[in-house]
Structure formats: C-alpha cells, structure tokens
Symmetry: C2
Subunit: 192 residues, 2 copies
C-alpha cells in the first residue's frame, strides 16, 4: 500500500506559517534541500486542501514574477523538481485550470483510502492542517516529518488540529540541522 507522509517546516510552537501566512522565518539550508531532494524522489502524488492550493498558487504566481532577480542557479533547481500529480480537495472550487492538478470534490477519506490501494509511489500530504486532521483522524497517514525551527510565532496556521483521538508515533530519525532546526521523522502507530 502507498505510504502517506505529512509534515513540513514548523515553528517550535507548531505553526506552518504565521498569522498572515508568513513563511519568511523558514531556514532553507543546504541540508534541508538534500533532505527534500531525497524525499521527493519517492513521491508521485500530493494531497492538499483548498487553502493550501490557493496559498501555493499565490506563491507560484509570486515566483513567476519576481520583484528581485532570482538567485544564481535557482531556476535550474526549480526545473529539477519532479512533476507530481496533485489532488486538491474542495467542495467549493468549481475547477482548476491546470493539468497538474486534479480537483477532488468527493469525501477525502474514501478517496484517499482508494488512492492508497492504487499502484504508485509515495504520497505527500501538504497543508494547513484541516485535510491532515481528517486523514490523521481516519488513520490514513503513515509518517510525520517535521523540520522544527527555533522560533515561536505565537499564532498562525497550525500543523496539527485535533484528530479526536490520541495518535501514537514512533521516532524514526532525529537530527540537528543547520540554523538550529531539528529534523524529526515519525511513523504513525496503527491503531487497527
């Protein structure tokens, strides 16, 4: 069965972004790039909710029209990111005009349960917590990987929302990263 991982860069107080979606505090060091490169090798599908999609689309538009010139070789790196199929879960969006995205209007739990059974590589669950809450709550997430940044944001977009039951984890990897970040990878302990 395909593995679903959830996570990302988080503040020590558990936010994926600040109250106004700020991500200026992210420390994108060389060792993070290596971890991400390794990770994306095994991924061919991404799951996200509407809000994350809109945030990512806004970021992408911003990236296309940079106010300052891009850093040396940043374009080359961008091209290296493999194309993955992205499923956007929303009941309000009518359509997404981009062949890389597939709008899913049916219930996420059943859809993802089926998707895990289909042939394919790993699945990356991205996001701002609401879809993750649903899928963690339904016991469909297999791994959690966080890059814990040395900052308290105070408020913002939470990484974890209440899945309505305790979720036990097994620590698989823990290491200090550049900039005082901590990479922590966990496996979800199956309850059934």
């Amino acid at each position: 069965m395909r593995k679903i991982t959830y996570g990302g860069a988080v503040s020590l107080d558990g936010f994926l972004a600040g109250p106004n979606e700020e991500i200026d505090w992210l420390h994108f060091s060389k060792d993070v790039q290596e971890v991400m490169k390794e990770y994306w090798k095994d991924v061919d599908a991404v799951l996200m909710g509407r809000k994350t999609y809109e945030f990512a689309a806004a970021q992408h538009r911003g990236a296309k029209k940079p106010k300052s010139p891009p850093k040396k070789d940043s374009k080359t790196k961008e091209r290296k990111v493999p194309v993955v199929h992205t499923y956007v879960f929303s009941r309000t969006l009518k359509e997404i005009d981009d062949p890389n995205y597939e709008l899913v209007r049916e219930h996420a739990v059943q859809f993802v349960r089926d998707l895990k059974q289909r042939p394919g590589k790993e699945i990356c669950l991205m996001g701002g917590g609401e879809l993750a809450q649903t899928l963690i709550g339904a016991d469909l997430v297999d791994e959690v990987g966080l890059n814990i940044h040395p900052i308290l944001l105070g408020s913002g977009i939470p990484t974890f929302r209440d899945p309505r039951h305790r979720v036990k984890l097994t620590l698989k990897e823990c290491r200090q990263m550049d900039g005082g970040c901590i990479l922590a990878k966990y496996q979800v302990v199956r309850t059934k």
Copy 2:
C-alpha cells in the same frame, strides 16, 4: 542576573497535558531522571500560576495516598528532590497554607523582573502556559527546554500561548532520549 527556564514534557502537537489534564502519556525514563536531577541542582525558585499550583497540589495529594503500592525506591527518589521556594501567581487565591509556597498577588512582570535581580540560583517557570505567555511576552524567560514526546494528544493544556510577538531561539542542545523522546534546549534571543 538569575536565569529563568521554561519547558517540560510536551506532546508533538504542543500540549503539556491532555484535555482532562492527563499526563499518563509521559515517559519518565532513567535518562529523563538524570536530566531533571542535573537541572534541579541549579534551581532554587519555581514560578507557577494558580492552575498549575492547583494541579500540582492535586497530584501531590494523589501521590500521598497511592492506590497501588509505590514502585521500588520511588520514595527515596522523591526525598532527593531539593526544597525550592515556589511563587504562586494569583489574584483570586486568598492564601496558601504551606510554608514552601508564597502567594504573589501583584503583577507578575514587575515581580519577576525584581526577582531576577535578587541574589539566588536559577528559576524554573512551570506551568500551563498562561504565566509563561506573560513572562515570555515580557522578554523575561531566558531558556526553553522541551522533552518532546512521540504522541499527538489533539487537545489539552498548550505549552505556548501567543506572546504577541515572534520569539527567536537558539538551539543549545538536541538529543534523542529513551522512548522516542527528543530533548531540545533553546536560549531565547534577546530583542533588547
């Protein structure tokens, strides 16, 4: 100036205790005991809010009348905990009938600012986040130490509440502990 440290055992989603103050998920291993023993050597004062005081008092009453016999040598270890002076911050409590506790009814920020200037050893800020929020917000906390447990509780008593501004930290120590816990110690980056 005396150092104030804040922290404790936390779930990966940032709770000090569950929604009904549950702490049954705590993994109190030998290496945690050693870390605590080292830590308490340098501490002679504790700060806590009313809720933490009441929680600690209830735990203490429970510990005095154990339903099951105490584990071998747990009593000996309890006796080894050094006596510290505890300041309880509350505007609603009338008095505390215990010479080890001092009720502080004045504003916490000014009191703690003065306390830091007085001679003495390190100060431990314990708690459920509200007093910590005030003192972190007032830039009075020097270090944060967390023992991050491999569990999502979903809800409960948050470790961090919004200090109304970003707080930058420097990672001083990070190591894997028994039971898949991560010990992470940070120094607060002074803003002034």
